[in-house]
């Protein structure tokens, strides 16, 4: 690959996505700043992320950057436009395993799902993968492993 993505970030002014990458030929680290255009506090982050990923000038550099990651970076930019601090924004992007996702708005829920998609895509077996098995059956023998921990504790009524 001509450019190997190393790290991503954002710049607030003007709103831009920043990519640190290695140039495959020279082996030098370089930084690329990609301004995000026509982006407001009402913009759709997943659309904007897709637009950037397919942008004629940037797409070659963004090969190794997932759409989900670009979407999250856009979410940080948009939060800034909405007056949220970076800390607030990052906290909302972090997955809190105890959070009740039933209580979120559509948009917040979509954001959580986009985060979950990172792991989902990483572990996903596609139909065209050589080792894909449609009916993959695995037996998990019942074990009584206390060390694995239990979610049942001694709570009543459960």
């Amino acid at each position: 690959m001509a450019f190997v993505a190393k790290r991503c970030g954002v710049k607030f002014d003007p709103p831009s996505i920043v990519l640190v990458y290695e140039d495959g030929k020279t082996k030098k680290m370089r930084q690329r700043i990609m301004p995000v255009r026509n982006f407001s506090k009402c913009s759709d982050c997943s659309q904007a992320a897709e637009r950037l990923k397919n942008n004629a000038r940037h797409s070659a550099y963004l090969q190794g950057v997932s759409l989900q990651q670009l979407e999250r970076l856009h979410a940080v930019l948009r939060d800034h436009l909405r007056g949220r601090t970076l800390e607030q924004s990052l906290a909302s992007l972090r997955l809190d395993p105890d959070q009740d996702l039933n209580k979120l708005s559509d948009e917040e829920l979509a954001r959580r799902k986009a985060q979950m998609d990172v792991l989902f895509e990483r572990n996903r077996k596609h139909k065209d993968d050589p080792d894909f098995v449609y009916n993959l059956e695995v037996e998990f023998p019942e074990v009584d492993d206390r060390e694995a921990g239990s979610w049942d504790e001694s709570e009543e009524g459960f």
């Binding site: 959070q99 039933n102 792991l119 449609y134 921990g149």
Partner: protein, 223 residues
Amino acid sequence: MARGTTDISELDQEKYDTDERVKIICLGDSAVGKSKLMERFLMDGYRPEQLSTYALTLYKYTTTVDGKAVLVDFWDTAGQERFQSMHPSYYYKAHACIMVFDVQRKITYKNLANWYKELREYRPEIPCIVVANKIDADMKVTQRNFNFAKKQGLPLYYVSAADGTNVVKLFKDAIKLAMSYKQNSNDFMDEVMRELENFELEQNEESSDKEDNVSKEEKTHLQ
């Protein structure tokens, strides 16, 4: 009850009484992976029907069970789980239930108790499978005890919609359970309904001699 979904009762569900049709419902919190599981099972072959006014998605699937063609309707929620309660029509005439939690979020496991309670209010007898999804995220969870299933006497499946582990088995088994429930069904709720209908007719007989014959005929149809 949840907003904007009351019209769900207008859906024609009488079709589920015919021999070759079953209805299987999915339950569980938001983002546990209900829809991803459906999609993994059906792969490209799926034709989801978005009934957005009803906040649900219907997936149709045809298969054969014991040499007979069966049309399966899988009912998936499309946001209504948010209210932690489904419209009664969602449960109506269901033959089996797939109840999912996310092994990465304890709260979704805790909430199974609420989902199960609501399920049993409407469908006291139908087979129900408990599903621990997302095991790809942490295989160690397959060694953990999830006593809820055991306590309720329900089968527990460890699955992953991402890598496909046990997904097809889960759905095939759910279809088998739904079919055998349907064939041997003596569903309490439906029985009660039938009793009530008969009861009304008998009362009619008493109140009017002229209608006697009609009533008797109606009664035999009902039996």
